[in-house]
Amino acid sequence: MSSQDDKTIDQPVSGKTADKVFKGVAYACGILILVVLAAVFLFLFFRAWPLIGGDQAANSETVSSFTGGKASSFWGYVGPLLFGTVLVSLLALLISFFVSIGIALFISHYAPKKLATALSYVVDLLAAIPSVIYGLWGGLVLVPAIYPFWNWVATYLGWIPLFQGPAANPSRTVATVAVVLAVMVLPIITSMSRDIFLQTPRLHEEAALALGATKWEMVKLAVLPFGKSGIVSASMLALGRALGETMAVLMILSPGLNYSIKLLQASQNQTIAANIAAQYPEANDLGVSTLIGTGLILFLITFVVNYIARKITEKASA
């Protein structure tokens, strides 16, 4: 080969500008996240301001009108909502977590390749089923179908406060909503953890197998540790979706404003998001402020939840 023209390190490098511009754009996009979030926060805060800076008598009147006189202060209103939101979401996550991880492992390491491909596809598809459809299904199909089961639970496990009877009929209860939300978030956790599990380095899997590990031990030694942070982040995404889910809750749950863990009884809890959707259409200006105030609380809660989760991940990977 002919030698090329001599290069030296002094020669200008082409693509320098592109390099700088690209870096600038990347930084800008990173910072844009901050800006957007700040905008959302500020807007919510601004719209919720009358709760703090406005006429307090009018505020408590608004809250009374929302709650039928049950609460008269914003905190008395948001407290049970918050409780309900967290209760429903955690239940949903609890139900779906182990099932999801199981399915993800099934697809990534247990099922024959062809079946796994088909299942992956189905899971991706299910992740995409809109919540309004889950709402339809939950409200019209699941609610009547699941009543005998809840009734059975209430009859035989009623001594556990969670399952205290009588089971509401129709079962438009926290328990049923949690099942629907679990079904909704299941594909999210499954599809993300499956992707991560599939990325487990072959080297590590082989190391485990060569030590005489059974398949499950291989999963425990190589796959799960590798996927841990992915699983946590998938769960957080799922929790985020559950916390903010509106339509399915709105269409299924019979709401109430209690600090109650009677999962099988109706009119016990309500979630913040569903409450906003239910009340927003008929709310006046001050009512909207109150609802946005609750939205702000939800926003802060997700902040806290994610912050804690992040700390857990950091510790795990340290």
Partner: protein
């Protein structure tokens, strides 16, 4: 030779390996556990299948009844009660399909470039800095923004900029892009992270600029993952109802202009039809007047929505396959 070095085994403890030999029962236990976990994992799969199949089955069975060409080619103008329209149908979802596609496309165009570039910033440029930690934490937080709050945000933003009562499709796109963004960033970030560092080093060592390394090697290698992440993000928002109720509104005629006028999307359509529950028929109506038509339309529209999602998935898969990258594991 080894005389030069003293043997590393000098001073090593003596080990009685028989102590560690697996006992029969230990092996038995491990095998049982292995089978047990295998069973549990398969069971998890079966358990999850029940509701998921039920959802699909219900939607298909109920939806197929009214899903026909007429339903796909008309909107809801001129539909009165349970009466048949002059074209022989009962109204349709053409306007909602157009609305869904336009609004979702708008959201994609906003959020995918931003999301990918943000992930690039997080993975390729930030050096574990405070800013990056904050941003990626906030991305997590953002994924928890309730869709309804996103709707309120977009609504008020447009109110401030374009005057009160502004409602249009693009407003819905903005609300949805807020919801899509964190999903795009997160999945893209994960995908960029698993691109082996070897490849970046190989490219940089060839004297390739960072920008070209990222666009031509890193993003290229991660592309299938990014595509499937983007599809997941689209799936996350294409079914949103609550924020679109306030931002894009609801209209029974076809509106193709994303930037002006209300726009119906499929989920909103489903919800509105569900809310109607039933339609009235005049006292002297004949059999062509169907009182249960709104619910039937709701299920049919739900089925259309699922089919659209399915098609998107298919397209995504084909794209991912065409660009597929064989990485060793």
């Amino acid at each position: 030779m080894s005389a030069v070095e003293k043997s590393p085994m000098d001073g090593a403890p003596k080990i009685d390996f028989d102590k560690f030999r697996p006992t029969r029962s230990a092996i038995q236990r491990r095998n049982v556990k292995d089978y047990f976990m295998r069973g549990l994992i398969a069971l998890a799969f079966v358990v999850a299948c029940v509701p998921l199949i039920s959802v699909l089955w219900t939607t298909i069975i109920n939806g197929i009844k009214r899903l026909n060409l007429n339903f796909l080619s008309y909107n809801m103008t001129g539909v009165v009660g349970g009466n048949q329209t002059p074209s022989g149908g009962y109204g349709g979802v053409l306007h909602a399909i157009i609305g869904t596609l336009e609004i979702t496309a708008g959201a994609m165009i906003i959020s995918i470039p931003i999301g990918v570039m943000c992930a690039v910033y997080l993975v390729e440029y930030s050096i574990h800095g405070k800013l990056a930690t904050t941003i990626s934490l906030l991305v997590d937080v953002m994924s928890g923004i309730p869709s309804i709050v996103a709707g309120l945000f977009a609504f008020s933003m447009f109110t401030i900029i374009f005057g009160p009562g502004t409602i249009n499709g693009f407003e819905g796109s903005v609300a949805l892009s807020l919801l899509m963004l964190p999903t795009v960033v997160k999945s893209c970030e994960e995908m960029l992270k698993i691109v082996p560092n070897d490849l970046r080093e190989a490219s940089l060592a060839l004297g390739v600029t960072k920008q070209r390394t990222i666009t031509k090697i890193v993003l290229r290698t991660a592309l299938p993952g990014i595509v499937s992440g983007a599809i997941l993000a689209i799936a996350r928002v294409i079914g949103e109802t609550a924020p679109l109720l306030m931002t894009a509104g609801f209209i029974s005629s076809t509106n193709v202009n994303l930037f002006s006028g209300q726009m119906t999307t499929l989920p909103v359509y489903v919800y509105q039809e569900y809310s109607k529950l039933s339609a009235n028929c005049p006292a002297n109506a004949d059999a062509t007047c169907v009182t249960t038509i709104p619910m039937e339309r709701a299920w049919a529209a739900a089925l259309v929505l699922i089919v659209i999602v399915l098609l998107l998935n298919l397209i995504g898969r084909i794209v991912a396959k065409v660009f597929a990258v064989k990485t060793e594991r």
